[in-house]
């Protein structure tokens, strides 16, 4: 019996040892043996052990506790205390937090989230989503904006703690920047939030403790106090530093890097809204514009596997145009032949429409052009097949080059659209001009005087502001549809009401008012298009006027009124033939769409001989007819839109 028991025990011990060995090989921790002298650290390092398999894997992928982030005794204690039931404990805490949120026990929610994060300190989503929960979802549940502000700060504090546990996760810093900029600076309560933030000395000290230099000039607004946009920007810069140091961030780089210049732009905008309308504003916009240009020069990785530089769209278009020209030169004879043959295939109306320059076509004619495209515009492959054999290889290579260059330009354009690159580029250039700042300042001060009841000063300032805004809109017509323009419209209304006058054609902003009246009817007409395009065409020569603002007391310049063809030639002749009734009444191609077609197409020409190069299988040619078809409109209203120039009214 005793021998049996002994054998059994020996077998148990052997079994235990056998199990321990692989455990040891797997789980041995890394060690550093101090065999060398302290003066020779390399010798010590060489004597260290890299540990077991698990440890080596952790090292290889940089996911060891110490490399992920700070080691917190409280967190470790909690994790050990759950005795392997961390998942269960975390689930219960998630449920509890959800319950507390639903039943509005917000203090308990906050406490539960702290416990939860200690249990799962390296689970980025916990920090991310729960910080968002506090800063966005919980904060809005309070009626008092001060309470809301306090909860936004709680969300930020929570996420800051998350960054300590996950120091190689730039997305957390990036979100911190978003909370501090967007949540505090774009909410309905932005005025109150920003005011609270700039005077929150206690919190500024806390932010210094978080490693943000909120006392630096980079983070201060015009009143020398920390500005939420500029402080938030420091978080973005921290995130960028991390990425540069090799940390991975799954955020699309287009959006990831856009936040830095956005923060500067919005900071400048907020500064102006709050009444700082002087050199400081110009400097802020100039700085923002420079950052935007730097953003445009960044190599942004796209989902197509290549990089794009948003600021080099013109270059991409030119490269595509050059490639197209090379191909066109090679196939021009063949194309002429095809087009000549195609004349017979076109109807009389189609022929007339195709023969018109694109800017002079009516929407109906444009529709005819698009619909008959296949009759006169052969695809590249057709043209290549018609070439002599010895030229085909070269043509094929050139065609392929054209396709890739055009595709690249399209990609750049698409990425630019996603971040509204063109708008911000224009805004940055425009807002730093003395005229723009003067226009805003005069309008702001006029509003102040009007509120005080000083009508005389208010009117003078308004009138000066209109002169400056007129210069701005003439130099940058696209601004006429932006938010700033809406503010101008409102101010014109206030002006009109206070002065009790009706606006005449000689009003400095008459073109702007005409354009907005047409546009805000939710449809564009020939007059609107023409007005916009004429202003756009003439805009370069007005750019210089932005450097010398109009001041109160200056001589009133002669109003610059755009002379419209449709105002003088209401007959409606285009190619010598009278317009049909439908042509005269249906005018609805949006200006933006038309302008963008002209801008975007790498090779658009105006004559029939050199019509824009669009192949039948290109997206342009495949555009649904419905998009090109004119919208119906009552004869009465369309008549007023096309034949009668709008009177000067301020659109609602």
């Amino acid at each position: 019996m005793n021998t049996k028991a002994l054998y059994r025990k020996a077998a148990y011990i052997c079994g235990i040892v056998a199990l321990l060995l692989p455990l040891f090989l797997l789980g041995q921790p890394p060690t550093v043996k101090s065999t060398g002298s302290s003066a020779e650290p390399s010798a010590s390092a060489s004597a260290s052990s890299s540990g077991g398999l698990l440890s080596q894997i952790r090292d290889r992928y940089d996911i060891g506790q110490a490399s992920l982030g700070q080691l917190d005794p409280a967190s470790e204690t909690m994790r050990l205390a759950t005795l392997g039931l961390r998942g269960v404990a975390a689930t219960i805490l998630w449920q509890k937090s959800d319950y507390y949120k639903t039943e509005k026990y917000y203090d308990r929610l906050s406490a539960t989230l702290n416990q939860l994060a200690l249990l799962q300190p390296h689970f980025v989503s916990v920090w991310d989503s729960q910080a968002h929960n506090l800063a966005y979802n919980v904060s809005v549940e309070f009626d008092d904006y001060r309470e809301r502000y306090a909860w936004v700060k709680k969300g930020i504090d929570y996420l800051v703690t998350g960054t300590k546990f996950n120091r190689r996760q730039p997305i957390l810093q990036w979100h911190l920047g978003k909370y501090m900029t967007q949540k505090l600076g774009r909410s309905d309560e932005k005025r109150q939030f920003r005011e609270l933030f700039r005077n929150d000395d206690e919190y500024h000290q806390k932010l210094v403790g978080y490693g943000l230099d909120v006392e630096s000039a980079d983070a201060r607004g015009p009143d020398r106090k920390p500005d939420n946009w500029l402080v938030g920007r420091l978080w973005f810069l921290k995130a960028y530093d991390l990425v540069r140091a090799g940390a991975y961030c799954k955020k699309n780089p287009l959006y990831f890097y856009a936040e830095n210049p956005y923060a500067l732009m919005y900071s400048a905008e907020a500064m102006e809204e709050e009444g700082t309308l002087d050199d400081k504003a110009m400097f802020a916009w100039s700085r923002a514009s420079n950052e935007w240009d730097a953003y445009g020069a960044l190599d942004i990785m796209t989902s197509w596997g290549h990089t794009v530089q948003l600021g080099k769209y013109d270059v991409a278009l030119q490269v595509a145009k050059d490639a197209t020209a090379k191909f066109d030169a090679l196939v021009s004879d063949v194309r002429k032949e095809v087009i000549a043959n195609s004349k017979d295939k076109l109807t009389e109306d189609e022929f007339a429409a195709v023969n018109l320059p694109p800017s002079e076509r009516t929407p109906e004619q444009q529709y005819l052009v698009d619909a008959s495209l296949y009759k006169y515009m052969p695809a590249k492959t057709v043209l290549i097949q018609m070439l002599p054999k010895e030229k085909r290889t070269e043509a094929l290579a050139l065609a392929s080059d054209v396709d890739s260059k055009e595709e690249y330009a399209t990609h750049v354009g698409k990425y630019r659209d996603q971040c509204n690159y063109e708008y911000w580029e224009m805004r940055g250039r425009l807002e730093q001009k003395p005229t723009t700042v003067a226009a805003r300042r005069q309008m702001y001060e006029a509003d102040q005087f009007l509120a005080k009841g000083d009508l005389d000063k208010s009117m003078k300032l308004y009138e000066a502001a209109w002169q400056n805004w007129a210069r701005v809109f003439r130099a940058y017509p696209k601004m006429m549809t932006e938010e700033s323009a809406d503010e101008v419209l409102k101010a014109i209304k206030r002006y009109g009401k206070a002065a009790d006058i009706s606006l005449e054609d000689s009003f400095a902003l008459s073109d702007f008012l005409k354009y907005r009246t047409i546009r805000d009817r939710n449809k564009m007409s020939e007059v609107g298009n023409e007005l916009f395009e004429t202003m756009l065409k003439e805009s370069p020569k007005h750019k210089d006027s932005l450097d010398s603002p109009y001041q109160v007391g200056d001589a009133v310049p002669e109003p610059v009124i755009v002379q419209l063809r449709s105002e003088s030639e209401v007959v409606g002749k285009t190619d010598g033939k009278p317009k049909s009734a439908s042509t005269q009444t249906n005018e609805t191609v949006p200006t933006q769409a038309k302008a963008s077609r002209a801008d975007r197409n790498p090779a658009s020409n105006e004559s029939f001989e050199n019509v824009e190069f669009v192949t039948p299988d290109s997206p342009r040619a495949m555009q649904p007819l419905a998009n090109l078809a004119p919208a119906t409109e009552s004869a009465e209203s369309s008549e007023s839109a096309t034949t009668r120039p709008p009177t000067l009214v301020v659109p609602e």
């Binding site: 409280a74 039943e103 009626d143 309560e189």
Partner: protein, 594 residues
Amino acid sequence: MRLEPNQFWSLSEWLFREGSLLYGAALVITMAAFGFFVCYVVAMVRQGPGEGFFSIAKVIYDLFRTDLPKTSLSRIWAIAKLAFLEAIRRKVLAVIGIFIVGILFAGWFLDKSADDPAKLYISFVLTATNYLILLLGLFLSAFSIPADIKNRTIYTIVTKPVRPTEIVLGRVVGFSLIGSVVLAVLGLLSYVFVVRGLNHSHEVATIGSDGRNGVTDVAGAHSHNFRLNEDGKGVTDESKGHQHTVTATKVNGETVFKVGPPIGNLSARVPVYGSLTYTDRNGVVGEGLNVGYMSEYRKFIAGGSLSSAIWNFENVNESDFPDGLEIEMNIEAFRTYKGDIVTPVRGTLILRSPDETVESERVSFLVKESLDRKVIPLKLSGFRLNKPEKLELFKDLVVDGRMQIIIRCEDSQQYLGMAAADLALRAGEKSFAWNFFKGYVSIWLQMVIVICFGVMYSTFLSGPVAMVATLASLVLGFFGANIDTFFNSQYNGGGPVEAVVRILTQKGTMIDLDLGNQTLEQTIRTIDYGLMSGVSTLKSAVPDFGRLGTSDFIAYGVDLFDGLLARHLLIALGYFIMTTIIGYFFLKTREMAA
């Protein structure tokens, strides 16, 4: 603080109006009948129908004839002392050590920057003590008798003239005693922890040019603004649920400011609650509105209309309000449009006599969404039958202790939300320490219930099984509400069997089970229904520990109603009697078997 209206009821209201006495009596009869039936079935199988009935009848007869009347308090005490010593030998006092370690590190987890840290601190110590002491009761009670039976030391007891009732009662008393000692120590430590943890002091950081307005420095993640009166004394504003006194004295020609300790963070307000009804936009009594929140606790009234919340009070005594009627309210605002962000939503408050003929002038207020206090003077202006008149509060508006308070929302398209407990009359204040003690009495009652269950299970189950059974009772008691929700099919995904099938077939809870076999699906659902019914029935036999918890009262600074505590005491007594009788029967039959 969340309170359901039934928690306001006094003991007599609970016993008679809610019908708890009748319910209790019915439960006793049902349990007795069920117990007798089960025991008879077991005895019948063992001994045949006649002999079985006889043995059961004999046990019952013995209980009432000899064991119960002749139960000796001195023998119970002797066994209790043994149980006490046994528990000491089993090193239960180590729990105190665990608790000390717990509160030493608690500071790491408790957020001092919370809006009201007192709530967090008190909730923490009460919850931690509650769990620890229940676990202690569980481990103490479940292993004792089985260990005695296993070691055969029980024979040295049963061979003495000791009755089974005495063994059961002795154990319960003994374990309750040691539990009480541990609980008392934990309570004392908790009290010190809370008081010391929340105590802090401020210095005056800045003082205005007038020497009267100032700001304190930051301590405990907050600071206070204050304004001194002409006599150099003042009180700070409320921050983190408390205030401080500030006094300015001249010392050697220089003004020295002294900020006192925190006031108001450890309180025990005595509230008088009323029942709440709502009226709709046309003033017709209705349900109150849901503005889209998942929580149904608060209902909302529409602004700029006749929609109102009406509280009916019944115990408004003049002696409780010598300086005016102090009203405490915590009303929630819900906006359908942002409007003026800076100005809070406006409400009005009206006092009305129960016959609705006399009402006070409107008292306007801005919604704070936190505890807001209004004091209504004893003499006030108002209307009798719509004619202006000077009123006396306790003569004209309060009739036989009854009165109404009406809240309306003034801003059109905005809403105010409230529950019955969101408006109360503050009838003085009691000592926080006494309230804290009552909170611990409540925990003590829960501990006694757990010990009773543990001892009961240990009379017929082995130690570990008895422990698991007691633990199961605890879990059922704490998560009873979830089980009800489960049973009422309010959760998607079915019962346990269906859940297993769903896991194996990787089907989420939101899609149909669809196994392609209707019979199989029906069978699964039937089995689940049977299992869930069983669990639900079991659940109704164990105490609802969730409802026995009273930590919110202490944490939110509300005096724990004596009626509620008495109710819990009665519930605990009921379970004590039930478990003792069941324990007696098992021990008696086990003894017979031995």
